[in-house]
């Protein structure tokens, strides 16, 4: 049976006293106490630290928003330009940009999601924003055409965040560009901005 016994040890010089609790008192042979309460305190501290670190690590969800935004840009760029030539549907009959080009429909995008476990209007809110800007490289006037889809309110998140870690709860923004030609070999720079919110699923 484990017995707590307060053992007082007197230092050789007799000035100080050291006391500690011992679970196992001296046996008949004179062997010493072994497992002191200090050791259990250390074990509890180590176990607590490990549990805390593990739950912190595994408790936070994987953030896949940047990957998702990049995949979306790939899909949109493949849809807007194929083999280095801009999609013919982007232009109307008079060779100007088609204002009625439906980015979601033409690029097979769906921005609404209905979750079983999260019913209500919040789950149907647009979690994405997509913008494509067209710049004429032979014309210094700058942007000649733009297309956008999704929740435009998310665009403000990009300006606030700017990659700061402390703003991880804001939407993730990815901005990429590529070059393409139209049917008359006119060169364009296309800048695509993709924003993914999905904060609840990716950030704790």
């Amino acid at each position: 049976m484990i017995k707590n016994k307060k053992v007082k040890h007197i230092l050789r010089k007799g000035i100080k006293e050291i006391s500690h609790y011992v679970f196992f008192p001296k046996n008949r042979i004179g062997a010493e106490k072994i497992i002191s309460v200090y050791w259990f305190v250390i074990l509890i501290i180590i176990a607590g630290a490990v549990v805390a670190m593990v739950s912190l690590f595994y408790g936070s969800p994987y953030d896949v928003r940047v990957t998702e935004a990049n995949i979306m840009i790939n899909q949109v760029s493949n849809c807007l330009s194929e083999n280095g030539k801009l999609n013919q549907k982007l232009f109307s009959e008079d060779k100007t940009f088609n204002e009625n080009f439906n980015l979601k429909k033409e690029c097979n995008l769906i921005f609404e999601a209905k979750f079983k476990n999260q019913p209500g209007p919040s789950s149907e809110r647009d979690e994405y924003f997509l913008e494509a800007e067209f710049y004429d490289l032979n014309n210094s006037s700058g942007k000649v055409f733009e297309l956008f889809e999704g929740n435009s309110n998310l665009k403000t998140d990009c300006k606030i965040a700017e990659g700061e870690k402390k703003y991880k709860r804001l939407s993730k923004c990815v901005d990429r560009e590529f070059y393409s030609l139209d049917s008359e070999n006119q060169a364009y720079k296309i800048n695509i901005l993709s924003i993914v919110r999905k904060t609840e699923k990716n950030v704790k």
Binding site: L11, I35, Y58, K116
Partner: protein
């Protein structure tokens, strides 16, 4: 460690590895080592269990499948190795056929009776998911995803 003077113990340190004067194996030392081994084993088991838990795998698979569908183009057939999920479903007594379900553009992965994880994809395609079976009609641990244009 002991310091003796005139036959009396003056100081005893709290060191666990005390030398027995008579060269005996102390029961307490053995107990101490055993307890330490048990403690470390529990910690390692805890770490392994946390890393392969159903909740974590549900999230991983759900996001992986959603990203996979996002990158896919019609008409594609994608095979995903889900052996880890299969082992967990066997433990939790869930049919492997019911692990992945796709409703609209939402992927739902369920590895236990009570849990489940959903993640949406933006690619507007029709996806069908079913587990692969061998000639004996047993599950191989692989899930097959077929990607088609919506409405086909």
């Amino acid at each position: 460690m002991k310091i003796k003077k005139r036959g009396k113990t003056l100081f005893t340190s709290s060191s666990f590895f005390t030398k027995s004067e008579r060269g005996e194996i102390l029961v307490e030392n053995v107990l101490f080592i055993v307890l330490n081994i048990i403690f470390i084993s529990i910690l390692i088991l805890f770490l392994f269990k946390q890393g392969s838990g159903a909740a974590l795998l549900e999230q991983t698979y759900s996001k992986q499948i959603a990203l996979m569908i996002d990158s896919a183009k019609p008409v594609m057939e994608i095979k995903l190795n889900m052996e880890k999920a299969q082992k967990i479903t066997e433990k939790n007594k869930i049919d492997f056929n019911q692990v992945v379900s796709i409703t609209g553009n939402v992927v739902n992965v369920k590895l236990s009776q009570k849990t489940g994880y959903e993640y949406s994809f933006f690619n507007d395609v029709e996806v069908k998911a079913f587990p692969e079976t061998n000639s004996q009609n047993e599950y191989t641990g692989v899930y097959i995803f077929t990607i088609n244009k919506n409405g086909q």
